[in-house]
């Protein structure tokens, strides 16, 4: 596509500054550790084996936007992927928005002013099962586990908030930076993309305090969410659990990618707030204030403590149907079911009954969708927590491998595999 080079040349790309990004990950910080700072110059390199936004520490805001792809054939799809690559490369690195003759509409929304700061922005491109239908000839190379999300027993899925040909996970220090990126992408892809649904969310900042151990941010049920997440900076572990590699028996083009399971999970917060604390803690299997696993009498532990279920086979300390015990039984047989969670809290307004429409934009990544989210969710089916939550939307997507350099684009390996 000839336009691409011109466009890249036209924008003043900020110099990549990985050192800054590394500094922000800090010591021993997990993907879901509560964000501590909002450095507008925080910049993650765009190019690489993997896309950003997966093992990247979760910032204070994130959204998932699912699209229908309107491209009419493979050439148009390639154009779309190249435009997305070019826009994501610019937006995540930051730079100056070009000026335009004022008789024309301005080139961008202007909501960040003329100089775009990277602001910790990551835009992660993933594709849905429906992109592999008969439109683009991709059916033969569909990732092995990619499928249309089926409702689980407690789900009440709304058609208008499910699935999609393509999804963008947009995360940044502030929602405004995410909205700017989304509007820029929409403006640059007319006729190629149509928004299908969108859900944004936030996690509370936790200002650093001396001597503090990193804690996971809290969800809208008041519990720390992300405790016991596999460590995002453990590359070997990520290669085992999160990134698709040669040992995962997927089409070769998919190496370096990952499965994304997205779920919009409504929380019945008023009812939850009327539930005794002890019951809340038994439902989750953790202390609410500290996040520590439940323990016998004695001093309360800390969030990072590893629960010992082997000494509690009857569930006298941690009920057998407690959320964290079902999700991760901590047995050798279930170690391969671990997933990397990266959720955000959402608040959408008010329901007809006067109750708040709040919940969790649950996002998780795994190298094997069946062994990961689907298996974990099946273990959770029927858990006591279901009385307080209702999944209403979401979808399964496959995060494309990264774009390796200026000559590469997101999705190149997918198209090449079916050329």
């Amino acid at each position: 596509m000839s336009g691409l080079g011109v466009a890249l040349g036209g924008f003043a790309l900020g110099s990549a500054c990985p050192a800054r990004a590394l500094a922000a990950t800090g010591h021993g910080q997990d993907v879901t550790s509560a964000p501590q700072q909002q450095d507008s110059q925080l910049r993650y390199p765009f190019h690489g084996l993997h896309q950003q936004g997966v093992v990247t520490p979760r910032p204070a805001s994130g959204m998932l936007v699912a699209f229908d792809v309107l491209a009419r054939d493979r050439d148009d799809l390639e154009t779309l992927l190249k435009i997305l690559t070019e826009r994501i490369a610019f937006l995540t690195q930051g730079g100056r928005i070009p000026e335009r003759d004022p008789l024309f509409p301005p080139p961008d929304s202007g909501i960040l002013g003329p100089q775009i700061a990277p602001d910790g922005l990551t835009v992660t491109l993933a594709v849905g099962d429906s992109l592999f239908d008969d439109r683009y000839g991709l059916g033969d190379v569909r990732p092995r586990h990619l499928q249309r999300m089926q409702g689980f027993p407690n789900d009440a899925l709304e058609a208008a908030r499910c699935h999609g040909d393509l999804a963008l996970q947009i995360c940044a220090n502030t929602l405004d930076t995410g909205y700017h990126a989304l509007r820029d992408i929409i403006k640059n892809t007319p006729g190629l993309l149509m928004v299908r649904w969108k859900q944004e969310g936030t996690v509370p900042l936790l200002p650093p305090a001396p001597g503090d151990v990193d804690g996971s941010a809290r969800n809208f049920l008041g519990f720390r969410d992300g405790s016991a997440n596999p460590e995002g900076d453990d590359a070997a572990l990520m290669d085992e659990l999160v990134w698709v590699g040669k040992h995962h028996d997927e089409p070769a083009w998919a190496n370096g990618g990952s499965y994304l399971a997205a779920r919009i999970i409504r929380n019945f917060v008023e009812r939850w707030d009327r539930t005794p604390l002890h019951e809340q803690e038994m439902i989750f299997g953790r202390r609410k204030v500290s996040g520590a696993p439940l323990s016998e009498d004695g001093p309360e532990g800390k969030e990072q403590d590893v629960p010992d279920y082997s000494s509690d086979p009857e569930g006298e300390i941690t009920p057998l149907d407690a959320h964290i015990r079902l999700a991760n039984p901590r047995t050798p047989e279930t170690a391969g079911n671990r997933i990397l969670r990266r959720p955000f809290n959402y608040s959408n307004g008010v329901e007809a009954n006067g109750q708040l429409d709040m919940g969790l934009l649950f996002l998780c990544f795994q190298a094997d969708l069946e062994a990961g989210f689907i298996t974990v969710q099946q273990r959770l089916d029927g858990e006591p927590l279901e009385e307080y939550i209702k999944p209403v939307g979401g979808g399964y997507f496959f995060v494309l491998p990264g774009a390796q350099d200026d000559t590469d684009f997101l999705g190149r390996s997918l198209l090449a595999a079916t050329a």
């Binding site: 596509m1 336009g3 691409l4 011109v6 466009a7 040349g9 036209g10 924008f11 229908d68 309107l70 491209a71 009419r72 054939d73 050439d75 148009d76 154009t79 779309l80 435009i83 070019e86 826009r87 070009p98 000026e99 335009r100 003759d101 008789l103 024309f104 509409p105 080139p107 961008d108 403006k187 640059n188 892809t189 007319p190 006729g191 190629l192 149509m194």
Partner: protein, 285 residues
């Protein structure tokens, strides 16, 4: 439906970003002399007046049918009457009071259908297609007729500002993008495709009148817009009840497949983006 459509429309996808960078090196200020706009603007006024004349006479028949209690006839005349209004919306909307009383939808009122201020075409649509009745509609029919006559009189006296006329092409496509593709405009009669076609007709008229001027500034732009209009009209044509008779109208919007709604969204959005630059291409403030 068939989707054998030239792919040139797609170029705009890339164009959005390319053009935004190109202005770094080129100043795309158009060189159109103000006098050159006089002819097309005058022609457009004739087009509007012609459609207004049709609107008045069709509204006479439509409101007469309502007053006569002839539900079937009134239902049949509803969409063919409205289409003249939809074509000239950029001008009609200049008179906000009349636009509200003629064409507002129930969503525009806090009390919805029951709101006493809810009048005009869509109030009658609700009676005719939801209640299947003309009961109590005489007042609304008379009011609509008065409003349409009022509009006619006001437009006769109106000096058409060139920027409003040229900007009207984009405004019409924004109408389509916002309320036609979603099917919320005529939710009871399901005659959305009539309005859809009316908006497209009106936008294309404006574009065609200024096309020679625009072509001198940016021939690729003109070619792409034409192709996208053709795409939209080809898809709409698939839903005509009689290919040879435009007056036969369209299938119910319920019959339009999700795939076709998406297929329409593509070129409609590209047209909205492209036509939003028409004023700039012609150097109009």
């Amino acid at each position: 439906m068939k989707t054998i459509i030239p792919k040139t429309w797609l170029a705009a996808g890339a164009l959005g970003l390319v053009s935004s960078t190109m202005t770094l090196t080129t100043t795309a200020h158009a060189d159109v002399a103000p006098a050159a706009l006089v002819g097309p603007v005058a022609d457009y006024k004739l087009y509007v007046l012609d459609n207004l004349e049709q609107l008045v006479s069709h509204t006479e028949d439509f409101t007469a049918a309502v007053q006569a209690g002839d539900v079937d006839k009134a239902q049949a005349l509803y969409a063919p009457t409205r289409v003249y209004y939809e074509r000239i919306e950029p001008i009609a909307e200049l008179f906000a009071d009349l636009d509200a009383s003629i064409d507002a939808r129930e969503d525009d009122y806090e009390k919805g259908v029951e709101d006493p201020d809810f009048t005009g075409f869509h109030r009658l649509e609700y009676a005719l297609f939801h209640d299947n009745s003309t009961q109590g509609m005489e007042t609304y029919a008379l009011g609509l007729m008065d409003d349409v006559n009022d509009l006619d009189g006001r437009v006769q006296d109106l000096t058409f500002p060139p920027q409003t006329v040229v900007g009207g092409a984009a405004a019409l496509m924004e109408e389509v993008a916002a309320t036609k593709v979603s099917g919320e405009e005529d939710r009871y009669s399901r005659t959305d495709l009539w309005d859809f076609q009316g908006n497209v007709d009106g936008a294309r008229e404006i574009f065609d009148l200024f096309k020679p001027l625009a072509a001198k500034e940016d021939a690729d732009f003109v070619a792409r817009v034409q192709d996208n209009f053709d795409d939209v009209e080809a898809t709409l044509a698939d839903y005509r009840l009689d290919a040879d008779d435009p007056n036969a109208g369209f299938e119910s919007y319920d019959k339009v497949s999700d795939a076709d709604r998406r297929a329409l969204t593509g070129p409609v959005t590209v047209l909205a983006e492209d036509l939003s630059t028409l004023r700039g291409v012609l150097g109009l403030n």
